[in-house]
Symmetry: C2
Subunit: 352 residues, 2 copies
């Protein structure tokens, strides 16, 4: 197959980890006889430095023309503590999500048996954890009207959801649940928020179309607790944008494998694949960043965006092999030898 991949490496460790994924993809291309065409484009702080705009139109064109986008990470500390900065890297992320219509962020959380003891949680609490949080990504308070009043002394943000936005996300949730254990949890704050009541109402109305799926409704505060207490009691969770932001990050640490968690953002145009970790500025250029989450995101890309299951499986297999053989970066090496980011990427590519 001919595959066009847009590479948006971004900031911080983004370029380093994306490079390792490219090595692995190249090896897959050789083995399975694909022709890969990469197009790189800027986004985030590096795009602001280049042209003053964190998601330039030229980058958007590259994404639209691609079959899939492989994304690294964005963000730079120089923007973090400056509430008055008018252009921020994150705006690029939000603009990209909106312009590409990336309405569903799919974030699996699972355990790797060999890494389970890295978790802050006790082994018996997390064994068997295998859940997916489906986060709505182009609506809610992230994209509502916001601003200041009273000469700047009052600020407001608006959270808005339409029934159609909720249905679109929930449909994907029901469909994923059908391929798994047929359990869906709708996470909201319906005891307070009107948008949450619309979420609950809409999902309740859809239940009849999926009679095999058992749906539960839980408040976001209760889920924030239960995710730590009994993560393995969950299967598929659907939720709105801001709750999803908080819960996916919380969920990412329970498995002890945060450096390994991939994600997909599916949308109306080209879908996007990215590690869930951030740009990790302190590690930039040190050849210590763990590339596995990005490599596993590439596996999701082969599976979802290209429909190439064998290729996805081959990637996952080589990742498991690297873990089993201890070819890992310092975050996972414990008392054993740590490999550099590049060394891990090279090893993976060679062993595909």
């Amino acid at each position: 197959m001919k595959l066009n991949i847009a590479l948006l490496a971004g900031d911080g460790i983004g370029p380093e980890v994306v490079n390792q994924a490219v090595k692995v993809i190249d090896a897959i291309a050789v083995k399975f006889n694909h022709e890969i065409n990469y197009t790189s484009a800027l986004t985030g702080a590096c795009a602001i430095d280049d042209c003053g705009e964190p998601y330039p139109d030229s980058t958007h064109e590259v994404c639209l023309a691609a079959d899939a986008v492989l994304f690294g990470a964005i963000g730079h500390p120089k923007y973090d503590n400056d509430p008055k900065a008018t252009v921020r890297p994150e705006q690029g992320l939000l603009k990209m999500r909106q312009k590409l219509g990336l309405f569903a962020n799919v974030r699996p959380t699972f355990t790797f048996p060999s890494l389970i003891d890295n978790s802050p949680l006790k082994r018996e609490r997390i064994e068997g954890t295998d859940l997916i949080i489906l986060r709505e990504l182009t609506g809610g308070i992230y994209f509502g009207e916001r601003g200041r009043k009273d000469g700047g002394d009052t600020a407001f943000d608006t959270c808005t959801y339409t029934r159609a936005e909720i249905q679109r996300l929930a449909k994907m949730g029901f469909e994923i649940a059908m391929t798994r254990s047929k359990k869906l949890c709708c996470v909201d704050k319906a005891n307070v928020l009107e948008t949450s009541r619309l979420w609950r109402e809409t999902v309740q109305d859809m239940e009849k179309d999926y009679p095999e799926v058992t749906v539960s409704y839980e408040f976001v505060d209760a889920v924030a607790m239960r995710l730590v207490q009994w993560p393995n009691s969950y299967d598929v969770l659907i939720t709105e944008n801001l709750f999803g932001d908080i819960l996916t990050d919380e969920a990412s640490v329970i498995s002890g494998s945060m450096g390994l968690m991939p994600s997909a953002s599916k949308g109306l145009h080209t879908s996007l694949y990215e590690p869930i970790h951030g740009s990790y500025p302190q590690a930039t250029g040190k050849d210590i960043a763990n590339p596995l989450a990005t490599v596993l995101s590439a596996a999701m890309m082969f599976e979802d965006a290209f429909g190439l299951q064998a290729e996805a499986d081959a990637i996952r297999e080589v990742v498991n092999k690297s873990l089993a053989e201890g070819i890992v970066t310092e975050d996972l090496s414990g008392k054993n030898k740590a490999y550099g980011t590049n060394a891990v990427g090279d090893w993976l590519a060679k062993n595909i």
Copy 2:
């Protein structure tokens, strides 16, 4: 001293746990020679059943006239899955917070050495955890304009904050930090929300008034992670209403002592003291609910509302003694004998 306490026992296990706190308060009154005047009033589902209103004016009058309010819990499952219910118990809670001006919810999270192994987290992650989350309680998206448009197909909620609201809460945070390790963390989502940018800006402006306090600014998603990873790295956290709702509940499970966590809601009029757990409907009337969180809330009440430190210490001491001697309810008894809610309350009162 003459002390007027409003008892708002509420729903579910609320009345049972409040009763045990009353036994303890009575014992304190005898020992320290106080005269306690209790006035009970309805709130929550039981108030709706009684008069159709979850926080009746008569209850508000009782609270205003009291020196402190001791609160149980509210909520009933019959309202949870009915997004169209027009009167809900939680509305009573919100109305009460607003009418009493309870702008700051103070939620300590600490570990009890004897209970540390109940935590889902590993011992080495939580040892020494002793943090306070200060949640803004009368602003934000809980109290903004909300509603429907497009014949019900679009819902919206508005989050609003004023500089004065933020200053009021942050001032309390700085002051609490000054009495502790002088570390304050402002939790927001300033990379997306305008209200968060106002929070960050306002707290930054206040830093100069507390030169000894080291302030950090962290995004809510990062805090949701770090609370699970390294809870003992935090000291005092301040945050807005909805983030506080999620993070305080998350924090409550890390210590393994959720059934023991008290809270205070401080305000413009009478302050309120309550266990952080909910109404736990499944346990209602079974004499199994753990009363210690409510008893420890009474300790906070003596300390904060009445300025009676020796009385507060005496309550905490007897609670520690009950834990040491295993006079505990089934949630804490492990393989040993479990005591009933009432038996624990009686034992505490007798041992004051």
